[in-house]
Symmetry: D2
Subunit: 341 residues, 4 copies
């Protein structure tokens, strides 16, 4: 971290300020120029608060050279992290380090027939995981809020029938007790900075699919992962799902540049959700392909056997047929990039 | 709600679609034009999901004429809502319906001396409420996370000494049990769509200060209030605190047009947080004045007796002296607009 | 276009309003519901101003069903438009309708040696067009503004040596007189809504590469194209080059969903500029691949033989070697999608 | 300017890099720390290109301490600039340095009767300047484009009848020849970075009302002013008119924090356009009041005697009656802040 001191600051004050900083566990390299004094902070600066520094009357500007995350940082963990999920019939299904995770299923679990038939269809097409919402975050209190625990039971039934590991969203800490047989816990965009929840996830031992908040920067997403990792759980899959911008053609703006950015700074796997990002079923295949071409470690896609009757988000769900065609292409793309599904 | 049907849709299908909609409790007015068939939905459409409609293959476009919120809607509650908070010494302090709420205090509670001295200073200057963070949402797990329950005790001590009702942030449901003597529960921007938490607040009987999310629309803020109101708690104060935009000069972009917008659509009081919005102490007075000029029902301002030593967000805190000068101006502004502090 | 009339509007007034609208050349279909009167406008509504309608005291809401552009609209021109550029040695080079346009070269033309050597290198690697800035739009009046007419001469020299058609930016109408031998006129993001310039381009007969403005919607980009087409020039290539969002990791946020969106609504070819969008050379290859995977008709990429010494935007330029490797991959992607470079 | 060098960079290379920088007219202060080498650039760095520096392989980060603008910078011109406009009957009307400029009139000039009657009404209410569009930038080529030169003649007729100086938009350089009797040349948001036009305005001697672009930062707006000032014309009035954000309740998001930000960094007067920013007539009075409360040097407001029949932007125009009431309030606000209209 580098601190530019204001022009004309009294030398004694700057020295007292530097001494106070050293008490926070860093060493200060003092560099006095003709018109600019600069302090270089050497050591672990992750605990030093830039905003507090900025408030100081001696400080002109602060630049952080070191990133504020450690455990999520590729610098200290150069190899890719691979998340392995045990399969009911034995063996593992993996995401990361060259293995693409393809997660598919309906927005909401609606009935046993629905979830089992979609599960069979996406498995047949080659998906590795089944997704489906039991607890649903909805903008309106008057909208369908998901089947809750019953939905979870139906998901487990589908897992039993197909052998597909399941991914479903957790909205509150107290729901953890019913998530025992869930394979990957999804944390939605709106909870990405629910810090109490993140800390709790640090204590559990399940993989977490952490979605980027609608207005979160790359660094904020990595800091959210760091919250979980600081608690001891490193099994995190990051998910780009669109950010909020002025453009309202798509529901959100899918930020595919987040893939190379994240892959450069972290060892965690990164997947993409083209369904929620765009909100438009006809756009899902091209954005899924672009995600893999850009280096994503997988996609999570909404598939519904009857999108028009879906209880939520039907507009963004593709049919099993479209999904099957898409899978054919994604397999070739993966191969093309030296990876496998 | 008006649904434009796609050109060339078969009449029979449209009729079946309309019949299915009527089962959701609305009446359909069928209007067939030369080139465009339009369905008008009459009745309570708050439970009807626009996105599901948009997914239907017969549907070209959907416009919602009626707003999706009821309890928060000024249409059904034309008069202003006033939030009354009982004072320790008896009597009430109010926000709304012409009464401005001025909430001031430090970002974080740091020590008994600090919170009591700031409380005395802001009371002296004319503030009506004391704010102070005990549980702090911080981007980094390595930053100071607040004093927690001890911080709450210190706030209550300051309340005892000054008689100022206190406002402090709740981050998780389980903290509710220690919020008994808190006067107004603050819900931060990052929790605005923590729906589980909102539902729980609907069950409690304390006033809630609900901050607008960084990327939330006016309607989403009102829907968050509606979540709380649907549970039976109507004592909500809305707070504009800046939105995230491309402009990074200020920490967020204070959207003062949200004040007239909210006041038009809801009867709930609306206040402004110029400290978090701008992140710059020197900008707080002008933005606080502008907020009152634009019709806000109050402001929440960070005041610290030693901003440079603050454990968080010092950069945005003004000193008690600056606050005192600001209060003089705000009082005149309030008077000028026929309101009072 | 559908107009929802305010509840309780006097019938006579609505009829007079409808009659006034009919004078603008549309037919009105009048639909009176129990609680909602709706007017359907039939005919060509491109000349009808939504904002004026919205100002009318009888009007509740307006929805445009028909898009406001005609000549750029795929509805009236279902097949893809292909832009053919004659080559100096005879024959044509095309963009669109399955032919990918690969445009490469330095940000600025700096010297004869520089532009000729880059031209040779990108031609060797398989680029179809040479780009290079002679007139440069720079944020600061004190930055290098490009070599101007001399730069243009050097570009033409490089065209002569390599046979590559050239693409360069036009900043003002009066420069048109020296653009005689330029093959494709580039209009930068900042001039996308320079309507006087767009009208003038409608009168010329050269292909125009029209870049999306930093804060322009899909519809605004198409309306800018419509300005040129309304003047009689239909040879337009659209270019997505990043939009301005809250996220500052990349210079702008590349909006790849614009590709399927544009391809759905217009017959014009759509290319992508990953260099300006991201501002980061190391991100260019993955974003270029993603663009082609998403269906783009080409890319425009900055290539510099010595990025560190570039007079502008070196940070985003890749070397000829990297470009050559990228081209190998893009060719395979193109082939895979049934297209060719 | 401070340049952080990458860890482990060879000393010889860093020295050669520093020597090359010195050739650009700055002195380098070399500071070698244990883990970080930092170069401090002393002297005039306005001509040094940050992006080029960032591209260099030795460079980790760059911070600009000095702002990139000189002539617009308050640092070198601490006092406020006042723009004086001579009145037809003799004397001056001023904006800045405590004098508020109130500019009012219709979006478009439509007829002699319209512009003269609005001019009389706004003068009567206390406006200091008449605005009205003759050349109109319209998103659609099929929308009314303004009366052009005829509109200019009608504006001049209204000036003659009322004595109000006129403000009207210039869209292209060639229109300058008919702007002889225009008092203030308005440059619209879409032309804020039309650098060729800005350079030309630097050569003319008329005051320029420069509107902030929809996606322009504070620094970019000041750099646009710097373009004009670099040419020798310092009579510039800056105008905040809303930025494009995710929020679409208002047409744009009025960024009132831009007022204190600009007033801190520049000596030029700053006014606000609440009509274009919000697009909603009913919001204009509260936003105009907030602008003055926040320290603006004036407002530019759309007033139309018959908003519902306006040929453009009627939705955002207030009536002469509303304007007259607003003026009463603004006068009190101005007086209160020690300024005058």
């Amino acid at each position: 971290m580098i601190i530019a001191i204001k022009h004309g600051a009294p030398k004694g004050e700057v020295e007292r300020f530097a001494a106070a900083l050293e008490k926070q566990g860093v060493k200060i390299h003092f560099s006095e120029g003709a018109s600019q004094t600069v302090l270089g902070l050497v050591g672990d600066t992750t605990g030093i608060d830039e905003e507090s520094l900025m408030a100081h009357h001696l400080v002109e500007k602060v630049i952080r050279v070191q990133e504020p995350y450690k455990r999520a940082n590729r610098l200290f963990h150069p190899g890719d992290t691979r998340i392995d999920i045990p399969l009911p019939e034995g063996g593992l299904r993996s995401i990361g380090e060259g293995k693409l995770g393809i997660i598919a299923g309906p927005c909401s679990v609606e009935s046993r027939d629905q979830i089992v038939s979609v599960a069979k269809a996406v498995k047949e097409a080659g998906a590795g995981f089944l997704r489906g919402g039991a607890f649903k975050p909805r903008t309106s209190p008057y909208s369908f809020q998901g089947l809750g625990c019953n939905g979870l039971d139906l998901l487990l039934a589908a897992k039993k029938e197909t052998g597909l590991p399941i991914v479903t969203e957790l909205m509150a800490i107290h729901q953890l007790e019913v998530f025992d047989e869930v394979d990957i816990i999804q944390i939605g965009a709106r909870n990405m900075q629910n810090f109490t929840l993140l800390k709790e996830l640090g204590r559990c031992r399940k993989p977490v699919l952490l979605k980027r908040g609608l207005a979160s920067t790359i660094t904020e997403l990595l800091m959210a992962a760091e919250y979980i990792m600081a608690g001891g759980n490193s099994r995190i899959i990051l998910c780009e799902r669109g950010i909020r911008t002025f453009d309202s053609y798509t529901r959100n703006t899918l930020d595919l540049s987040a893939i190379p950015a994240l892959k450069r700074h972290t060892h965690l796997p990164v997947i993409v959700d083209p369904s929620h990002a765009t909100g438009l079923a006809w756009m899902v295949p091209s954005m899924a392909k672009a995600a893999i071409a850009a280096g994503a470690d997988g996609v999570i896609v909404e598939v519904h056997n009857n999108p028009e009757e879906a209880l939520c988000d039907g507009e963004q769900s593709i049919t099993p047929d479209t999904f099957s065609t898409l899978m054919e292409t994604l397999k070739k793309y993966a191969e093309f990039e030296g990876r496998s599904i």
